[in-house]
C-alpha cells in the first residue's frame, strides 16, 4: 500500500516534469541553454523511472554493476564526441 502511494507521487512528478519541459521550450533561451535544460529535465525523469518504477533502489550490487556499465559506456561515447561538438558550435 505504501509502495503504491509512492508510485502515485512519482507518476504525478513525472507529469509535472513533462509540463516543465514543454514550458521551457517556449522560453526564449539560447540554443545551448535550451539543449541543457531539455536534457536535464529528461535525465531527472529517466532517473525517477529507473529508481522507482524499475526499483533499482532495491536491487543487488550485480544489477547496479550492469546498469553502471551501460551508463558508463554511453558517457564514454558522449565524452568522445565532445571535442567535435565544441569545435562546431
Amino acid at each position: 500500500m505504501k509502495d503504491r502511494s509512492r508510485l502515485t507521487k512519482v507518476f504525478v512528478g513525472l507529469l509535472m516534469l513533462t509540463v516543465v519541459t514543454v514550458g521551457l521550450s517556449t522560453l526564449a533561451l539560447s540554443r545551448k541553454a535550451a539543449v541543457a535544460a531539455a536534457l536535464a529535465v529528461a535525465s531527472i525523469k529517466a532517473g525517477l523511472i529507473i529508481w522507482h518504477f524499475m526499483e533499482v533502489r532495491r536491487e543487488t550490487a550485480w544489477v547496479h554493476a550492469a546498469m553502471i556499465t551501460g551508463l558508463a559506456a554511453v558517457l564514454i561515447l558522449a565524452a568522445g564526441l565532445l571535442p567535435d561538438v565544441g569545435g562546431r558550435w
Binding site: F11, T18, S25, F53, T60, A61, V63, G70, L71
Partner: protein, 206 residues
C-alpha cells in the same frame, strides 16, 4: 522456475533478472549510439541546428500535441505497469492482471497515435526525397533520423505489447512465477519509456 546463483559478495541474484538487465545494457548502447549520431548530425547543421524545433511551421504544433499526448500515455503505462508488479507481489492477481491490461491498452494507444502522427507528417510532405523536402536542403537528415529513431522505438513498443499479451493469462492465474515474469516484462517496458523520455525533447522541443 526461479534460478538463483551465489555471487559471493552481493548475496543472491536472480539469473533471469540479471539476464534482462544485461539485455537492457545492450539496448542502452544501441539507442545511445543512434541518439549520439543524431545529436552530432544536428549539432553542426546549418538547417536544423539543435536548440530549437527543427520542424518547419507546417504541422509543427499538431505534431508536438500528438507527441506530448503520447508522452503522457507512455508515462501512464509505466505507472500502471509498476502498480501491476506491486499487486502481483502482494498476491492480488486480479488487480495485477487488470493493471497489466491497462498497460497493454495504453501501449496499443501509443502506437495508434504514432501511426496518426506519421500519416499527418507524410501528408505534409515530411518524408525523405519528397518535393517539399527538396525545397529545404539539409532537412532530409533530420526527417530520416526522426523516422528511424521513432520507428525503431515503436518496434520496441510493439515487442513490449506482445510480451505483455503473452504473460497476461499467467499473471491472472497468480503465483510467484507470475510475479517474476511480470517484473521482467515491466523492466523492459520502463526502459522503453526511458528511451521515449529522451526522444521526446530531442525531436519535438529542441
Amino acid at each position: 522456475m526461479r534460478t538463483e546463483v551465489q555471487t559471493g559478495y552481493a548475496g543472491e541474484v536472480e539469473t533471469g533478472k540479471l539476464g534482462i538487465w544485461l539485455f537492457l545494457v545492450s539496448e542502452v548502447m544501441l539507442f545511445g549510439g543512434l541518439i549520439s549520431s543524431y545529436f552530432m548530425a544536428r549539432w553542426g547543421s546549418t538547417v536544423c541546428a539543435l536548440g530549437a524545433p527543427a520542424w518547419p511551421k507546417a504541422g509543427q504544433t499538431g505534431g508536438l500535441a500528438l507527441a506530448t499526448f503520447n508522452t503522457v500515455i507512455l508515462l501512464t503505462s509505466s505507472f500502471t505497469m509498476a502498480r501491476a508488479v506491486a499487486f502481483a507481489r502482494e498476491g492480488e492477481s486480479r488487480q495485477a492482471a487488470a493493471h497489466l491490461g491497462w498497460t497493454l491498452g495504453l501501449g496499443v494507444l501509443f502506437l495508434l497515435v504514432k501511426a496518426l502522427e506519421y500519416s499527418v507528417k507524410i501528408g505534409h510532405g515530411y518524408y525523405p526525397q519528397s518535393r517539399f523536402m527538396a525545397d529545404v536542403p539539409g532537412l532530409n537528415v533530420f526527417v530520416s533520423y526522426y523516422f528511424a529513431l521513432t520507428g525503431f522505438h515503436a518496434l520496441h513498443v510493439m515487442a513490449g505489447v506482445a510480451w505483455q499479451g503473452v504473460i497476461w493469462r499467467r499473471v491472472r492465474g497468480g503465483g510467484e512465477d507470475a510475479a517474476i515474469k511480470l517484473e521482467y516484462a515491466g523492466l523492459y517496458w520502463h526502459f522503453v519509456d526511458v528511451v521515449w523520455v529522451f526522444l521526446f525533447p530531442l525531436f519535438y522541443l529542441i
